[in-house]
């Protein structure tokens, strides 16, 4: 990532970061990572965008680089194909680890607007995509059943977790 080739200042590390991450059960596997890089070798995004590097993200978490990891745009560049997990010799569930990191970053306002807006959409219509008039009509033409398009109950659940309060700094 941006850190490549630069020295890491120990004073800038947060020894509690890893503990905060593995406090989430879904991310506990990260402690098993021994940085072999099989994940990175298997990653189709890394092949196109070398800055996206699962091994490096895991290493940064284990070192306690809280600020660098959570503010990094690259944690959002995973296409979630799970090739990393498929090949990991330590059975690290990197998809879950990354989700925990993204959740933490989202609370600090780093989530891309596209994901934040999807939550709004679900609260309004119950689904991720807007059900515009043209599509409603198309479905009628194809004799497909109408969509309810009601997000009230989903909105209640979303509000109960505080996910509706998440904003994007962008």
């Amino acid at each position: 990532m941006a850190m490549l080739g630069k020295p890491i200042r120990v004073s800038g590390l947060d020894p509690n970061f890893k503990a905060d991450v593995i406090a989430h059960e879904a991310a506990r596997d990260i402690t098993a990572c021994f940085s072999c890089g099989t994940c990175t070798a298997a990653c189709p995004v890394h092949e196109i965008l070398p800055e996206f590097d699962p091994r490096k993200i895991a290493r940064m978490v284990n070192l306690g680089m809280r600020g660098r990891v959570l503010s990094s745009p690259y944690i959002w560049y995973c296409t979630t194909c799970l090739e990393c997990e498929q090949h990991c010799p330590q059975n690290v569930n990197f998809f879950n680890v990354l989700n925990v990191l993204k959740n933490m970053a989202a609370k600090e306002g780093y989530a891309p607007p596209s994901w934040v807006n999807q939550t709004r959409q679900v609260m309004q219509t119950g689904v991720v995509f807007a059900t515009e008039e043209a599509w409603v009509k198309k479905r009628e033409e194809l004799s497909l059943p109408p969509l309810k398009g009601d997000g009230r109950e989903a909105a209640k659940l979303i509000q109960s977790t505080g996910a509706d309060e998440i904003r994007s700094k962008e």
Partner: protein, 287 residues
């Protein structure tokens, strides 16, 4: 039916409903279903699980299992089933579900439609019903990520490193599946909302590979993969100065063609981009 298919890829829904009817599978729509939570986990894992649980609870009330068209819905709901086996988690989730009058007791089962076709209908029955001759059609299968992974979600249904089931499902229609180097490459659909360029690069890699193979079409089982390889194909062509023209069919459309369905009325093939005309011409069927 999920979020994307009903409005963005209705031909997937239309053709699946036709296939199911022909095989005697009764699909019961639950109109209160909401988003499965697959995308919400990006910003809140807890929210994703609650939405999955809401859908599982809605199916449970009617004593129904869930069949999904979307592989993302499948894994999000399957992950919900797994997570909610833990009494402590279920108790907490049910407390929140009770605010909307729901409760989940762990009875709902979830399958992707591909697995229903493969396991519950079976290749033999598909072969019997596939009467139209598709033998001239060379097909590139695209499995997509959630069809195969995580493997536990579909209880070892297929082998992610060397998948076979879609090849077999295609063969059963009479068409010929091919092998190609980028078979397991991801479509980039889940990074598309964050970076179109990155998704386009991933799409181009597979289309380049397939152009060299001179296949008649791609066949896949995910509406997001469809949106990437089909809907985005023209844009990717322009960006890469490479004029791709690879028709993309959803598997139920291919199966429907083999079973004698009307391509437009039953399968919505006129909605596919790029045009599927060349494939239809090869099997002696015009739009």
């Amino acid at each position: 039916m999920g979020c994307t298919t009903p409005t963005r890829v209705p031909q997937y829904e239309l053709s699946t409903r036709w296939i199911c009817k022909r095989f005697g599978i009764e699909l019961i729509d639950i109109e209160d279903f909401v988003c499965c939570g697959a995308n919400q986990i990006n910003i809140s894992i807890e929210t994703g699980l609650l939405l999955a649980a809401m859908n599982l609870a809605l199916a449970e009330i009617q004593d129904l299992d869930i069949v999904t068209l979307c592989p993302w819905c499948f894994t999000a709901l399957a992950a919900g089933v797994e997570e909610l086996k833990k009494q402590e988690v279920r108790g907490k989730v049910n407390k929140q579900l009770s605010t909307i009058g729901l409760e989940y007791n762990g009875r709902t089962r979830v399958k992707h439609v591909s697995r229903v076709l493969y396991e519950d209908i079976g290749l033999d029955r598909i072969r019997e019903e596939a009467r139209r001759d598709l033998s001239k059609i060379q097909v590139a299968p695209h499995y997509g990520c959630r069809y195969l992974k995580p493997q536990w979600a579909s209880e070892g249904f297929d082998e992610p490193n060397d998948p076979k089931t879609l090849h077999q499902l295609i063969s059963a229609t009479g068409a010929t599946p091919i092998d190609y180097e980028t078979l397991n490459l991801c479509c980039g659909g889940k990074v598309f909302p964050v970076s179109e360029d990155l998704a386009h690069s991933l799409i181009a890699k597979k289309l380049d590979n397939l152009q060299d193979k001179e296949v008649d079409c791609m066949v896949l089982l995910c509406q997001t993969c469809y949106l990437m390889y089909a809907t985005q194909q023209e844009k990717v062509s322009k960006k890469s100065n490479n004029q791709y023209n690879i028709p993309v069919l959803l598997y139920p459309q291919l199966l429907g063609l083999a079973m004698g369905a009307d391509p437009v009325a039953d399968l919505g093939i006129n909605l596919n981009v790029p045009s599927v005309d060349k494939v239809l011409a090869k099997i002696g069927k015009d739009l």
